[in-house]
Symmetry: C2
Subunit: 316 residues, 2 copies
């Protein structure tokens, strides 16, 4: 394949604390904010604490989940003094980093997240043909002899139109959530912090090389496309959950789940099995923040996507 020429990635946003109890991103952003730009950086990076009130309280959100407030509808809704804090904040962030889907938006938005699920490092996007995001993923996967060498890196694709895309990373021209787990919410684990720090550094390395005119060879990347969510078994009257994720499934994110495999172990002792007809890849298994959303795990289909060689249109 011929190399695809693409615009340089000149303006980058790194955001943390979009969920105020996901601490690796919060402490990484605080570290980055300590290092003031001196104007000699090859790339303009804006570092943002997305939800400072929630971070201050160490809660996911104050009034509503900020990372569901970036649909086109939410960003254009009128706000008043009685609007939830996060509805106001999403429009502030859109003004700062977007506007979404405009030429003024940052070129790349990396939003840092943590999960209680054993996901390793995932780049979560709304596109399976964003060559910039896919090349950054490939670059992270190729790292060796690094602290995060033992952390698997995967590309997750939510097949949702941009208008309906609800998360902060959808504001950039390119964007992804960098999601790393397992880490309890409200806790920072050193190995998770280091993996995130290194993930961001590798992303910046790729961007600098790309902007400098380096040709990045094409190849193949495995893409996990979200198919559906599965809720916990619940009491039909109280809606209280009646089972936990089965021990055989817990922590086995991205390990193929076959029809008939154990899925839940009821508190009463009964095993419930996966009743689907297709083997799929589970992820976000037992994520703490998703109990309230009715999601015990998500299921994805995996396929290999061929990506072209890329280089920047203009050399500096």
């Amino acid at each position: 394949m011929k190399a695809v020429a693409m615009p340089t990635v000149s303006r980058v946003a790194v955001c943390g604390g979009t969920h105020g109890n996901e601490l690796a991103g919060i402490y990484l952003v605080r570290e980055m904010l300590k290092k003031r730009a001196d104007g000699t950086e090859p790339v303009s990076v804006v570092t943002v604490m997305s939800n400072p009130r929630a971070a201050q309280l160490c809660v996911r959100y104050v009034e509503t989940d900020l990372n569901r407030c970036f649909t086109r509808a939410a960003l254009s809704a009128p706000v008043s003094e009685t609007s939830p804090y996060e509805m106001v904040r999403s429009q502030e962030l859109n003004a700062l980093l977007g506007p979404k889907a405009s030429m003024q938006a940052v070129d790349l938005l990396c939003d840092l997240h943590n999960t209680t699920a054993n996901t390793g490092l995932c780049l979560i996007t709304y596109s399976d043909r964003d060559w910039i995001c896919l090349h950054i993923c490939k670059h992270l996967q190729a790292r060796t002899n690094t602290k995060m060498a033992s952390t698997p890196v995967r590309y997750v694709h939510f097949d949702i139109p941009l208008n309906e895309a609800y998360s902060l990373d959808s504001v950039g021209k390119h964007g992804f959530a960098m999601e790393i787990g397992p880490q309890p919410h409200g806790v920072v684990r050193s190995v998770i912090f280091s993996a995130m720090q290194e993930g961001v550094q590798l992303m910046m390395d790729w961007i600098c090389q790309f902007n400098s005119g380096t040709l990045f060879e094409g190849g193949w990347v495995d893409v996990y496309t979200m198919v559906k969510n599965i809720d916990y078994p619940r009491d039909s009257e109280t809606h209280v959950i009646t089972a936990a994720v089965h021990p055989d499934l817990q922590d086995r994110d991205f390990c193929l789940l076959h029809p008939g495999d154990p899925m839940f172990l009821c508190f009463s002792g009964e095993t419930l099995r996966y009743r689907g007809k297709e083997a799929l890849y589970p992820f976000f298994i037992n994520e703490g923040a998703y109990y309230e959303k009715g999601v015990a795990l998500s299921l994805a289909r995996k396929r290999r996507v061929q990506i072209p060689s890329v280089r920047s249109e203009t050399l500096r």
Copy 2:
């Protein structure tokens, strides 16, 4: 040693949800509440959801930490409509299960807790010579061929006078927190739930046998007595933490920590070491709820305590 004759353990309380986001205890109490007593039970068990409002919201507490509200001073403080919910609730629980240090108190109070630290199962008490608690610990340690066989069981002793003892379990004539980890707050993990369920069942088995006149042989139990807490390194101005627990220490609860061993890894990359003069046993390493309390880990001294054979005073 001659067997010590002790009163039967006739009234037992099993409490969960003292912290509303520690889910194994909450779901275990809900399961127990489904099974109505039919009057034929050999022991009277009262099952209590300690902080239902916090459990409903899936937060540790609503206004103040309930499990710090059981000192004599807190239990005798006047309450009004403006008192924190948990101050009122602690007095309700004291009326139901106590009064603390009275003849009317339940014979044994088991309060179920979870921690993000890799503690295994701990019985946490205020006494290193409570033969009932120590024998129950020995009984749990002796279990074989059970689901929780891989879960270490330890006895932790907080050397605090009963008047100042601040936790719910101090309301019973005998009492302990049954603390199990690692489990993120706001998450229930099946293996942790099962270990807790089995721990409670083994405790009940011991009580039934004891009340039936079984002689329990004495022996030795390792007791970990809390010596001190260690806080995270913090910025001197903002008090924001500047380091995470070192990867070499993380998850190594109850593994001896020697002077000079790595303790923290700063976000800037620097390693900080344990500066104490005495090798001690760390526990509650990186417990999520203790960031706000200024505790990165606790340190304990271990010693072996000889316990006598016991039997109940009166046969039924």
